[in-house]
Symmetry: C2
Subunit: 237 residues, 2 copies
DNA sequence: ACCTGAACACCGTTCAAGT
DNA sequence: ACCTGAACACCGTTCAAGT
């Protein structure tokens, strides 16, 4: 008598549950990988717990079984990426150049993961890759004859340098509107030259130099300034 | 016959509207002042458009008549505070010390407004006070004999330095849990010394230096490194 | 011109309940 | 132990409507 059975083709509910479990079982690994994928593709503003959960076809609450909170997730993402940084085996004769090689590598890693510099801000990388990198960094800095206290601080200083110098950089190859950036810089240039020269003698004169440095040359110059400053602290071997 | 008039004491609705207009008329000035007050008292995480509106006894939508969006509001707050920075009149004989005085002043301003370093991140201060400070900074850097392109970059470099060095600093005098910070640092120290010395020879040896620098000495050391590096670019007058 | 209420499309995190 | 739906207490911004 009941008309319940008439619905037809779909598997009846008492035989198999309608929605299958997520493709892969949830794990911290998988969550970090997914978060990094979202970060690379859409940046930090798009990286929410809800977004990661959606990517994994669950609700946001499910993530909290594997990750304490968003902050810890970002710590893990950061540490994951630090594995990609190349830190040279110390060769004292090439100290200054090797420090620069290390910083260029760090910059490249920061630039190849969108908004990673923002993620790194205020974060002390104490994960597996973080401490490994710190060990190699200290080895390198000491090889140049830096006293321990200077080397210890120098590690922070150069990391912060790369971070800030990378913070507003364009993203990988793709969709960056370089012409918009150029237009903004041109606007600043015009603004500076339009200032009254009697009250702003320096800015009006320096509008060129202030707006002409590209991020590559800024980075190289900044490294050189810091390395020169650091080398004044080197003790003879 | 109708019982409408029985309600008594409160002024009847057709005579004066029940809620008086806000104490002061809304203005950009007032909004910026209020935002800065919230920032000082409760930090950036508490600074929302809704919070500022509430403080002014309106709804968040009302703010948008005076401020384009939150980002512009933060620009204005940042510029407001830059008025407090002291930049010395150049005296070439005291160049290095004067650069340090400027940076100490900037640091002090950043430290006296909670989370201001975070606000300043990725922001180019082009407001009235921002360009005035930039003008004086360029005057000072050039007085040391720095070429224009070096001086132009140096301005950014030292500002970024103060920002990152100030980012995680304790707040004014009040409610900072310095003992919690100390405990965290002690924890890092113990962790570093607990690492296997064969794989982490540098970190285990340097646990002391790595964890012993307080923010005052870090700042002074960082300034000295950068100023030494910059002075290698100075040209004779 | 300025202000408003209500709504839109989001957040991170918690918690009781399910398996 | 792991996962879930629903809820809590928030966000920035827009928009039609009011004055």
């Amino acid at each position: 008598m009941e008309a319940r059975v008439t619905q037809a083709i779909p598997t009846p509910p008492w035989q198999t549950p309608p929605k299958p479990p997520p493709r892969q079982p949830l794990s911290q690994e998988l969550i970090v990988t997914t978060a990094l994928r979202v970060l690379d593709a859409e940046g930090l503003d798009a990286l929410s717990m809800r977004r990661v959960a959606q990517e994994l076809q669950t609700g946001p609450a499910s993530l909290y079984a594997h990750v304490a909170n968003k902050d810890e997730l970002l710590d893990l993402v950061y540490d994951r990426v630090l594995a990609e940084v190349d830190i040279p085996e110390p060769d004292p004769a090439r100290w200054a150049e090797q420090v620069k090689e290390m910083l260029r590598s760090l910059r490249q890693v920061f630039r190849s993961h969108r908004d990673l510099a923002r993620v790194s801000l205020s974060r002390i990388p104490l994960g597996t890759n973080g401490v490994a990198g710190m060990e190699r960094t200290m080895a390198l800095l000491r090889a140049g004859g830096l006293p321990d206290d200077i080397a210890a601080y120098a590690g922070d200083l150069v990391t912060s340098f790369v971070t800030t110098e990378t913070l507003d950089d364009a993203f990988p190859g793709d969709g960056v509107d370089t012409s918009a950036v150029q237009a903004y810089v041109a606007q600043i240039h015009d603004y500076l030259t339009s200032l009254p020269p009697d009250r702003f003698p320096n800015l009006t004169q320096m509008a060129g130099p202030i707006t002409s440095l590209d991020s590559e040359r800024r980075f190289e110059l900044g490294m050189e300034i810091i390395v020169r400053g650091l080398s004044t602290y080197a003790e003879p071997a």
